[in-house]
Amino acid sequence: MSLLTYAPALESTAPAKIADRYDLFIGGKWTPAASGATFPTIDPATERVIAQVARGEERDIDRAVTAARTAYDKYWKAMRPAERAKYIYRIARAITERSRELAIVETIDGGKPIKESRDFDVPQAAAHFFYYAGWADKLAWALRAGRTPAALGVVGAIVPWNFPLLMAAWKIAPALACGNTIVLKPAETTPLTALLLAQIIEEADLPPGVVNVVTGDGATGAALVAHSDVDKIAFTGSTEVGKIIQRTIAGTDKSVTLELGGKAANIVFADAPLDQAVEGVVNGIYFNQGHVCCAGSRLLVQENVHDAVVERLRERIATLRLGNPLDKNTDIGAINSREQHAKILELIASGVAEGAMLVQAPGAIPEKGYWIPPSFFTGVSPSLRIAREEIFGPVLSIMTFRTADEAIEKANNTPYGLSAGVWTDKGAKSMYVAQRLRAGVVWCNTFNQFDPSSPFGGYRESGFGREGGVAGLAAYLA
């Protein structure tokens, strides 16, 4: 057998005991939806139904918000901050202890490679709880002198399907540290790790109702946004839904933070370390099958190195291994859902129809499940849909530029502004470009670097508010 064939190296699923059905977690109790309705959650790599999950609706949201309000008034508001911190540390430790189980379930439910859920999603989730636990009794230092930190009350958090556990952690950890209680609505296609997190929270013995998890679909989320006793909405998801949320809460005194879509530019100058830039480009667009709001989905490359970069990229994507997400050698997992798969295919077809040149990694696609090989387009003009719309898949649009100012202009020519990358060997040039990019995060000579201490968030239609770091506390304090 040739070495490069890499015999299957499957992660054992034994540590993950997935139940046949899951209820809602409200007021510290597991309870079916009031209607009794459920929906299936599907393994996108096999199209197999993994479990039935309760479909919460308005009545369930109301019960959960009431539980959160009661918990806030009865336990959480008056608790000494150092005591709150102990609970949050306990959650962090339990995530670490159950990391294998969480990684396996994340991969089965969402299709992402086990390598990523094991080395990125789960450790980052734990790190967020550890980080914010430390802040709970130091909030006075998070604000300008003279202001007294106070919780907002009940937070409604709605999280997406691309990093289900991690996004839940991004919301729950700072919300709890700041003294709020929470109702979490996980994404419809990936509810399982949020439910495991609810188990962890239950075992950590948090007072009932401090964290509630109500699974469901868009209507469930809409009910949470509309609920009159929710003080704050924290949403990560599409710009389209973000706009609906803004309209819904207009005229109320709810506060809101939105982390929405993006169409980030990765700018590669001729003097960049090209091999490393290609690594960053690959990570930027193919990490998590491109289901990343800050994905570097537009590659702006200086014209005189365009061919060299494209050639390296073509060779590099041929080494990416697509297949069973539970295989430890898999680089590219399954597309999260049938709907997303169809959406990506439609956008790829539009790129071809509009005249861009499509390049896709060679290799077989499994028969079952939803898959798209790593893909990029050359010959993309800025007016094409693939250059303007967020694809949220493993599809890169490559364009060229001649000067730094042209690169900045093209990079900023989007309604979004979440992230960007700059690749150059010249420090002064990185700074010049980074200062002029309208993006919440600019990575220089790297991409997709995350740390709980570093704030993350967008400009313009990518949303507002910051998550992570000291800045992330402001979103949960009055």
Binding site: L3, L4, Y6, A7, A9, P273, D275, A277, N445, T446
Partner: protein, 292 residues
């Protein structure tokens, strides 16, 4: 040298390098990798106390490492011991490699270094492992480094020349890339990471930079040159990480002793132990493996 060397950035280089060690090589792939690693070994002894007896023992192990394990690629010794190794390996396909050019520092006159090389060649060496003058390189005298490599290659003729960059002394990935390009442009058949005589030997990021230089050289000239990693590779796991690195960066064609070598001694014992445990499912005591 007119060629401009591309720059290298540490962050993504190291991140990519780390990814090779994360490949999970199991069952049939692992068995294939272990045998391949054995076939790529330059079994090495480079100690001041080396004796003919020691070299003959090593050669016996090189020929038949154990059970039905394949032979290694070469035995690597000091010039004075080339004749002994040559005799011990007579009739086999195993090459005798000799370090030369005032190994390990290279800080002698070119005349002395060439004489050292010729002595090794006259004794019958099939391959020469030379060192570059790091002092000259670090003072910016690239012309001298280039000239010396070319001169040694000229002395070697058709004999394979491996050029040791001693990457642990060069100070940056950019310098490693530059030294790799200098060696390749001036006749190196292989570029080699280290002498094994200083604290920092081969690392995955270093090997990756060198592979990128070899890959770009092939793009430029159509010629394939080899990589030898040396020093610090003691376990099967780390040897496999290098095989993965080479395969994913240069392609499967490089997974061959003609283009990839590992300079090692203790590594072979671990490979043999892993090879046996892969077959039996159990680890035997180290005392079941003969010490060389």
């Amino acid at each position: 040298m007119n060629l401009r060397s591309p720059s290298t950035d540490a962050v993504m280089l190291e991140s990519r390098a780390a990814s090779f060690a994360k490949r999970s090589i199991k069952t049939a792939s692992k068995r294939a990798a272990i045998d391949l690693a054995i076939r790529c070994i330059d079994l090495t002894t480079l100690e001041g106390r080396d004796t003919p007896g020691r070299v003959r023992t090593l050669c016996a192990k090189a020929i038949a490492p154990g059970e039905d394990a394949p032979s290694v690629a070469a035995v690597c010794v000091y010039p004075n011991l080339v004749e002994v190794a040559k005799a011990a390996l007579h009739g086999t396909t195993i090459a005798v490699a000799s370090v030369a050019t005032a190994f390990p520092s290279g800080l002698s006159s070119l005349a002395v270094r060439l004489a050292d090389t010729r002595a090794a060649l006259d004794a019958g060496a099939d391959e020469i492992d030379m060192v570059i003058d790091r002092g000259a390189f670090l003072t910016g005298d690239e012309a001298r480094v280039a000239h010396e490599i070319a001169a040694v290659k000229s002395a070697c003729g058709a004999i394979h020349l491996k050029v040791i960059l001693e990457t642990g002394e060069l100070g940056s990935y950019d310098a490693i890339r530059r030294a790799s390009d200098l060696a390749l442009e001036n006749g190196a058949d292989f570029i080699k990471t280290s002498t094994g005589k200083i604290g920092t030997s081969a690392t995955l990021p270093t090997a990756l930079v060198m592979c990128e230089a070899i890959r770009d050289f092939e793009r430029r000239t159509g010629e394939r040159r080899g990589l030898k990693i040396a020093g610090g590779v003691r376990t099967t796991k780390s040897a496999i990480a290098y095989l993965v690195l080479v395969a994913e960066t240069l392609g499967e064609a490089w997974l061959d002793p003609a283009l990839f070598r590992i300079g090692a001694s203790a590594l072979l014992d671990d490979l043999l132990m892993q090879r046996q445990s892969g077959r039996t499912g159990r680890y035997a005591s180290v005392d079941y493996f003969p010490k060389d």
